[in-house]
Symmetry: C2
Subunit: 381 residues, 2 copies
């Protein structure tokens, strides 16, 4: 029985984590979780899961819920996230919040040597050097939840890391993969949210269309697997069946494949190094699919991916600036205040103007993050 | 430094094993090997390799070579094969002979707890129950050299065998994959020897065209990985890039891919669990390949594959009978004494007439083997 704490229970990854926990009551127990402002959903989850500790965003909500559920402890805000992450009974911490809000609680869970299942890209992208150093020091395994990094992790299982030659991240190409750059001028929010293979949140679907998502994944892969950027490739693969690959120095390539289903990498992070059956999982049928396609990625077409490689190679606070600029710009796009192509223009302007600081501490990272968001907002308002 | 003994040094697998050994003198030393009747090639190999022990087929050849190379020991015949297999200095035994001749020496090497790198299908197909039981008893790892089984082995590395749901062997479909059964009537030996992806010996190229090769591999997979036949699938994949796959009960599929090159599985069997760079290996470039195709296998089209599943499910001496009938029939086809489709007809007649004995001992297996070969010869002469 693994006892789990979860940040971001009402998000897409959070809800799927809960599905897995509830489908396997003999394997997992969700002891503590956090939600945001969706109190109706929080109420429902508390009833269903009967956790020991729940953190919400607002103090007022915590007070109301505490009266309704006297046998559960409620807390709130940033300190609430840390309380959930560090709950003494849990051995696995799932970080499934969006944005840099997950960073401090991840470090707190690492300091308690928990297994860290991480779906929160920003933590690794902006503070990868801090997180990995602490994880090593406190012997806390970092288990990726992203389907691509999980595929890499699975493809390295039992292997000598020194034999790895190259990581190959596959990319569907996103909702606009069949459009030229010229055709991207007029695309709408609605067009962008129509992802061909995965059903995901709005922000990540836009990131997938710009391929900033893949750029963040390249940086994550660099951080997680200590691999130089020159040895991390992105390969267009429209069907999203091969989730990623590891090439070894004997020319062997190990790959993880499957029907796109985020529950697979989530569950693997919870059960590693073992596997348990996926309840209701759809088996891969390659004969039915018939063909898998592969294509080189064009960095001129996917300019955001190039920006991410550039930032990754530089390292330092420019990673935070790039990530924050992207988050802010995507939000502006979703609010229909900027066009699709202005997202990457926005990121590039921020990067060009950035005074880079290498190996930043947590405080510096959080400062650059909030300053960059303001900067991007000011660009349009 | 691993010291190696090798049966079948002048065959395709044998020569590639030697390539690997000579390319990595700091990792490997070939101490003992066997050849057949190609004395010119044997002479060349002895000069190149400077082994301690060499076995040839004929006593006379051993005597001649002994005079030429007084610092090398020469031996011959079946006892010579066993001497090579059990050479006390070696820790790895590579069995790369064709046919049942490799069986006794494999058992002898197992009894010395050597690592057994096995390219000899017949040993596992006809005497799998004996080989695997002894291998377990004497703690001798059986490392597959076939590209498909090596792919399965690599895809299981670090995994819990209990989590395996299914083995998926890929098949190119052989030289006649685009022909209907009707079109197979008139095919010639020359047509059959033209394999699309792999350059191999004549016998295995014909087995690839009938798919008896894949049938033998299914049986080998059953033996090596203790997997029921219902959980072993064959998938047509014309490019031979995915060498085989393992499906787990969480719906994850692990696969090993690469440019077709037999040196990869040979070298992996020598270096397992580690890997070393493949000298002159061609890296996989999926973008260049563009597409991978998959298709269900049609058991009516590939009748020999169905026969192999049937024999496998029955177990016992029918496996030996089927394999011997196939070897004899393929030889007759190569001699242009029977047609291509008569190969499977021949196997089916032998199987229909066979009195099956379950769990046969070595003597019974060798007896059924030689009787079946005679029977098939008698069918046409």
């Amino acid at each position: 029985m693994k006892k789990i704490s979860l940040l971001g229970a009402t998000g897409s990854i959070g809800l799927q984590t809960i599905d897995i926990v509830l489908a396997n009551p003999e394997s997992f127990q969700l002891v503590a979780f956090s939600t945001g402002r969706n109190i109706e959903k929080t109420r429902e989850l508390v009833t269903q899961i009967k956790p020991e500790l729940v953190s919400v965003q607002q103090e007022e909500d915590a007070r109301v819920l505490q009266q309704e559920f006297p046998h559960v402890s409620f807390t709130y805000g940033t300190k609430g996230l840390i309380e959930v992450a560090t709950h003494p009974e849990t051995t696995v911490f799932v970080n499934a919040v969006l944005g840099s809000v997950g960073l401090e609680s991840t470090l707190a869970a690492i300091h308690m040597s928990k297994n860290i299942a991480i779906a929160n890209k920003e933590t690794l992208v902006t503070a990868g050097h801090l997180v990995m150093a602490e994880a090593k020091k406190y012997n806390a395994p970092i288990l990726p939840v992203d389907s691509e990094h999980s595929a890499l992790y699975q493809s390295m299982n039992g292997e000598n890391p020194k034999a790895i030659e190259r990581l190959i991240l596959t990319a569907s190409g996103g909702s606009f993969r069949d459009k030229t750059r010229a055709e991207l001028q007029g695309v709408t929010v609605k067009d962008a949210l129509n992802h061909p293979n995965w059903s995901m949140g709005a922000k990540i679907t836009i990131d997938s269309a710009t391929m900033m998502n893949k750029g963040l994944e390249v940086i994550e892969a660099h951080v997680l697997f200590d691999m130089p950027y020159d040895n991390i490739d992105v390969l267009l693969h429209r069907e999203s069946i091969i989730h990623s690959m590891v090439e070894y120095h004997d020319t062997s390539v190990m790959a993880q494949l499957g029907t796109p289903d985020m529950r697979v990498p989530i569950q693997y992070a919870l059960t590693f190094p073992d596997r348990i059956p996926l309840i209701g999982g759809k088996r891969l049928n390659l004969a039915e699919i018939g063909k898998l396609h592969f294509q080189e990625v064009d960095f001129e077409r996917y300019h955001a991916l190039k920006l991410a490689y550039d930032a990754g190679r530089m390292g330092g606070t420019i990673l935070t600036a790039m990530n924050a600029a992207n988050e802010a710009a995507v939000a502006l796009f979703l609010e229909e205040k900027i066009t699709f192509l202005e997202i990457e223009a926005c990121i590039e302007r921020v990067m060009d103007a950035h005074n880079n600081i290498l190996l930043p501490d947590l405080e510096t990272i959080l400062h650059v993050d909030s300053e960059t968001r303001k900067l991007v907002r000011n660009m349009v308002e």
